[in-house]
Amino acid sequence: MNRKLVNIVLIVLAVAIVVIIGKDFIGKKAGKNIENPYEYNIDEYRKVDSTKILYFEKTHFPVKVHDWAGVAVSDSTIVVATDNHLLKFDYSGKQIFSKQLIDTVSCVAIDENRQIWIGISDYVVMYDQNGTLVKRWNSFGDRALFTSLAVSGENIYVADAGNRIVYQCNTNGQIVQKIGEQNDQKGISGFVIPSPYFDVAIDDNGFLWAANTGRHVFENYNEDGSLRTSWGLTSFKIEGFSGCCNPAHFAILEDNSFITSEKGMPRIKLYDQHGQFIGVVAPPDAFSGSLAPDIAVDKQHRVIALDFTKQQVRIFEKKKE
């Protein structure tokens, strides 16, 4: 009888111990999931009216990319330069070639002869369309940090986030002029580049556009480096640019309208040539994380986005009206 009682007490004790341990475990788990009273909430700004979404995602394919990488398009090929690799794909995602580069890439552009220009931190290299190294420029110094390239004929425009300036160079890397230096007499306030997001592109008329990300404006420059025009709007709302360094990337379509890509709350948008907001290519809900996808556009007005979080090349096409 006594032995039975002892057994019962031991079993009850064992059950009690298991219950206490289980409760503590569940309690700890629940403690990890409680609501955050200090949450930084931007959900309101992530919502996009569906009528404003003008594009749809046609296809995508996987690509292993670091967040220090770039995408460019030419004819029916997509070039992705990432880490120390140059990758070329067709639009179905079939890899055409993969070349080992000599250093870590920071940006890429393709010229009209399909030559591939690659920015590598403080210098530029050029490969032919088959991936053979043709040119290598000298270093622009320790402070240089190239974040974007734009090619127009014999002119190579290099955005240097480190020195907050755009260099107009010849194909051998000799500086023709510096664009965007602060000059009160010429009405140039200078580039404000808080982080290495500083993009440039050439419009259909051959004029240079640069994203002055610290001021949330696009600046347009004449051939002589004088400021031609600018547009931009600071706002978390869909028609504006938010945060310290947006638009992080942009590309110009053949009709001179702009495709922009933002960081923080990633979204890709379409503006007309005067900076009027037209609509959305990809809303924030199409992305996870906070990195801005690098973008390129082709002659069919398709938008090719390099999504660093999803590790994909994503191709967006305009919806049929």
């Binding site: 700890k28 403690g31 990890k32 999931n33 955050n36 009273p37 200090y38 949450e39 930084y40 931007i42 309101e44 700004y45 967040d67 220090w68 931190s121 940090l145 480190g162 404000v192 808080p194 982080s195 290495p196 610290g214 001021r215 949330h216 600071t234 978390f236 938010s242 945060g243 310290c244 360094c245 960081k263 923080g264 709350m265 906070s290």
Partner: protein, 201 residues
């Protein structure tokens, strides 16, 4: 009957005596071992890895100290000194000013100081900071991630079982040597170049 019982009693006494002696020896050895370990090993303190932090807000509420021993710190070498600072201003701020309604920090612990057009410096008032990480979330999403949390060791009680570490959803808390107690963001902490850290920010 009695002849059989006597040797058993002696055995039990011996067993108890030797058991007690053994337990005493083990406990003395244990104490000596722990003392030796403590005197030879480095002291450890709690710290949170800012690269793992998910800005959940637990650091403000779970610390045994009031206000929390976790404070926001600023890696000035990473900061863009922006006019539009995601860590200072509310997303829906009416203007880029120091007006209370525009400030993201619930305790107004960040001081904004004009340097030159268009640059501003942001300084943390640690007496006001509660370690809620709201500014860290804003800075990490829209800026370079220069604002981040750290356990301040002039305030931390260095509890054996840190109450924040118990509930940290990112397991960002770890024991670090007391002679290098901080994990400050910046080019000098993660081994990479400052350019790498900037890009990731």
């Amino acid at each position: 009957m009695s002849d059989k019982k006597e040797p058993k009693s002696i055995e039990r006494r011996r067993f108890l005596r030797s058991g007690m002696q053994m337990a005493l020896a083990v406990s003395l050895g244990g104490v000596a071992g722990v003392s030796l370990l403590k005197s030879t090993s480095k002291d450890l303190v709690w710290q949170l890895d800012p690269f793992k932090c998910v800005q959940c807000g637990r650091c403000a509420d779970e610390c045994v100290m009031t206000p929390s021993a976790v404070k926001c710190v600023h890696a000035y070498d990473l900061c863009g000194y922006c006019d539009l600072c995601g860590g200072y201003l509310k997303p829906d701020a009416n203007a880029r000013t120091t007006a209370a309604e525009n400030q993201l920090c619930p305790t107004a612990a960040i001081k904004r100081q004009y340097i030159e057009e268009p640059y501003f410096e942001y300084v943390i008032d640690e007496d006001l900071c509660i370690g809620c990480a709201k500014c860290v979330a804003g800075c990490t999403s829209f800026g370079n991630g220069s604002l981040h949390l750290q356990v301040r060791h002039d305030l931390c009680k260095n509890c054996n079982d840190c109450s924040i570490a118990r509930v940290c959803p990112a397991d960002a808390f770890q024991r670090v040597p007391a002679d290098t107690p901080y994990l400050i963001k910046g080019g000098f902490t993660k081994g990479g170049s400052s350019k790498d850290n900037l890009k990731k920010g």
